[in-house]
Symmetry: C2
């Protein structure tokens, strides 16, 4: 049924690559159009509109597409299943974006995409619109050239990933049959700093929470009441001091009990990665890496949990001094989790710790997500590596885990499917920060990678 092909990449695939090259200007322009639509899940802005826009886009491309309501924001799903006998890949992405503040730090406004120096700047450019839009264009390009895909493709786009994916687990449990696939591939996160592609086999989990201290019914004068009225900020400072020490060790009672040490293969795979602390220090203007100082870079990102303060706000922040004892303060935190930490259990432990060390402080659970791992010797490893190599022209790096969190556990732990993250964005995409961007070259390589993956899956289907 399919023309003879030699690896890397079939002849069929190279005709798709030519189509991508010939259409890159309109692809860029269509991505800019997409990025003009804000879809901020944390603020419930633009979600419904963008979900609808995606369904229409998927239909125009050739998918059967619809939204699925959840208790939160709708899931968008597209299906192309006209390759009987061929394997099925489920592509996951998310159409919601982070809040854009601080707005004043953006060179061009976050929802008015601008091209500068070969990059597209906009909120969502890298995380994740530019990446899943590349997947959609890979399908479109393959269909435009060949009128069909060599494998079956499901696409699932979530509307609240930046808000902790609170409903995807329920959705996956309920729609298990609709999501039946041989493997899951997610384009999210950044390439290696060198520009080399990567394939990731896992993600860290996450929990988010708030700590709120309230020590009096209003702020009081630091002279008339200093030393008398407890200070909400000091209360949180001292509590936080019991949760992680200056050496970087998380000291919440029981927090690390369930952490499973990485396997020998995971360690050696991670050790082969050319992660250079000096590159990161240079690009981010760091004078040092975070404590503990003696930890290899790969281990920091993959094998250790974190406890991050995302924000601390209390008392006076205006110009000049203001001599008050602040009566309330709020800290927002997240913790990245590794196998086999479980969010509910970790939150229970943090809550118990807070109760023990600062019983007056209010603990507010925000969200949680399990970590996920696919074995490094998965049967899809080789074909994925070939697809990425074909699209990029270089060998991908293999990451046992990403530092970030994606709801991959719903695929690995609920569906029992192998799941891979194949990022398309540049390492300095500035996701979750002002001036988020994607390099145009990365976006186009993303489209090529999607197409190459379909090509490989078609051939693998023939062989299997």
């Amino acid at each position: 049924m399919r023309p003879n092909s030699t690896r890397p990449g079939s002849a069929e695939l190279y005709r798709v690559f030519e189509h991508i090259d010939a259409n890159k200007d309109q692809f860029i322009s269509r991505l800019l159009d997409y990025l003009r639509h804000p879809s901020i899940s944390a603020h419930n802005v633009g979600i419904g509109e963008v979900a609808e826009l995606l369904v229409n886009t998927l239909k125009r491309v050739g998918f059967e597409a619809q939204t699925f309501p959840t208790s939160g924001h709708p899931m968008v799903m597209g299906r192309w299943e006209r390759a009987p006998g061929a394997p099925t890949v489920l592509l996951y992405g998310h159409y919601d974006v982070q809040p854009p503040d601080p707005l004043e730090a953006w060179i061009s406004p976050p929802f008015e995409p601008a091209i500068r120096d070969g990059r597209i700047y906009a909120r969502g450019a890298g995380d994740n619109k530019g990446q899943h839009f590349a997947q959609i264009l890979a399908v479109e390009s393959y269909l435009a050239v060949h009128g069909r895909l060599p494998c079956n493709v499901l696409i699932l786009l979530e509307g609240e990933e930046e808000h902790g994916s609170p409903n995807i687990a329920d959705f996956v449990r309920t729609h298990r049959d609709l999501l039946k696939a041989d493997l899951v591939v997610t384009a999210d996160g950044p390439l290696h700093e060198s520009g080399r592609p990567i394939i990731t086999y896992g993600v860290r989990g996450i929990v988010s929470f708030e700590l709120r201290a309230r020590t009096a019914n209003h702020d009081v004068h630091s002279g008339n009441f200093g030393g008398v009225v407890p200070n909400a900020i000091w209360t949180l400072v001292h509590l936080l001091g019991t949760m992680k020490n200056a050496d970087g060790q998380i000291t919440i009672d029981g927090f690390s009990d369930d952490v499973v040490a990485p396997s020998g293969v995971e360690c050696s795979t991670a050790a082969r990665l050319p992660l250079d602390p000096e590159d990161i220090k240079r690009s981010l203007g760091l004078t040092r890496l975070d404590s503990p100082v003696d930890r290899p870079l790969a281990d920091r990102l993959m094998f250790h949990p974190t406890l991050t303060i995302n924000g601390f706000h209390g008392g006076y922040g205006g110009p000049g001094p203001k001599t008050i004892v602040p009566h309330e303060a709020v800290v927002k935190c997240d913790a990245r989790l590794v196998e086999r930490q479980a969010p509910d259990d970790v939150l229970d432990k943090i809550e118990a710790h807070v109760k023990r060390h600062a019983p007056d402080v209010q603990f507010i659970r925000l969200e949680g997500m399990l970590p996920s791992k696919t074995p490094l010797d998965s049967r899809y490893s080789e074909l994925l590596q070939r697809a990425v190599r074909t699209a990029h022209g270089v060998e991908p790096f293999i990451y046992p885990s990403l530092g970030g969190s994606l709801p991959d556990y719903v695929f690995t732990k609920i569906l029992g499917t192998h799941s891979f993250v194949v990022p398309y964005a540049n390492a300095d995409e500035a996701n979750h920060a002002p001036n988020e961007n994607i390099k145009i070259e990365c976006f186009l390589n993303g489209i090529r990678t999607g197409a190459a993956l379909f090509d490989e899956l078609g051939q693998w289907g023939d062989e299997s």
Copy 2:
């Protein structure tokens, strides 16, 4: 020259009291007018206007009055010196006010004075406009009834007390001759919670500073960089943890080296004060007093330095979670000082401590003020106590020191003059906080106290 008088209070004084009673409505209305004029030194709002307004008010009352420029905001000074041979009292106050934020917490707007339940609500009502305006009205009332004062009165009103009084020391050094007085009396701060008047013989000093951490050139994703990029908030949390422990002990190296323990008389005087922790806990909604737990209330306010975090701001503070590693954060602090801590030396020690424990953190000196003490056996003790008793009808409490800071050291340490603080505002004046207020009864008692003080000084002058 003066009619025969019996203590407490001369017949002459009681006629002044009658005048005050007869004119209270117009006094209140004129205070409201005064409070309508913002004069926020930290924001440089309304200062010049209010200084001019005060000069005109003082002239109308009968003072020679003028402003004196400083490197900052002008001093306002009034002189009534037509009582040769009688003693001279210098009344000190400040016409600047604290910033009014958070505005949304005010029941009525801070610069639209409102009367509710016998209180005048406005920024500056208690701190300090209501109090020095009472002094001015005491002079006006005495002059209205008798055409003269029984003593000489100088009034000095500063425009940057809420901004740390950065120029008063230079002003006092330069204008030593203009400020020659037998004693200094300041109406500022609150009465005892019971409403009983107090006389204070000292104040704590103060230093203010900022700590600024900047760990990267922008915020980064807590997954992609958590555990790798140092967190500006954790940096400050751990630094602050080295500065004061959870037991309330200030642990900055050398901070308390120069602290002089209070004398036996100071201790016994303080111990006689009916300071009830339960009253404070009830009125401010506290569940506990600040650490250390075993310290008597009077000692907390008078004999121990403090280290207060006035504000902590960094990272995300909006709704929902935001998974970032914040790259910058700012902490504002003040420390109240006791005899014989010196601001420059204390700031040097804090700076050295910061350099040692967190060399990347920027230390910014904001301001400093020396503590001050007048001996409890001052020759003016008795007359002051009589004046206050006469005006209030009850015995005043004697405080060896205030918890707050006033630039009293310029009088005690530069001029060598005994200096007393005789507060007029209610204990729950909410100074430096939303809904600042002064009880009308306190304001009127303040006018009476001023008049009684002049009366006593006139008689003391006769005897001396």
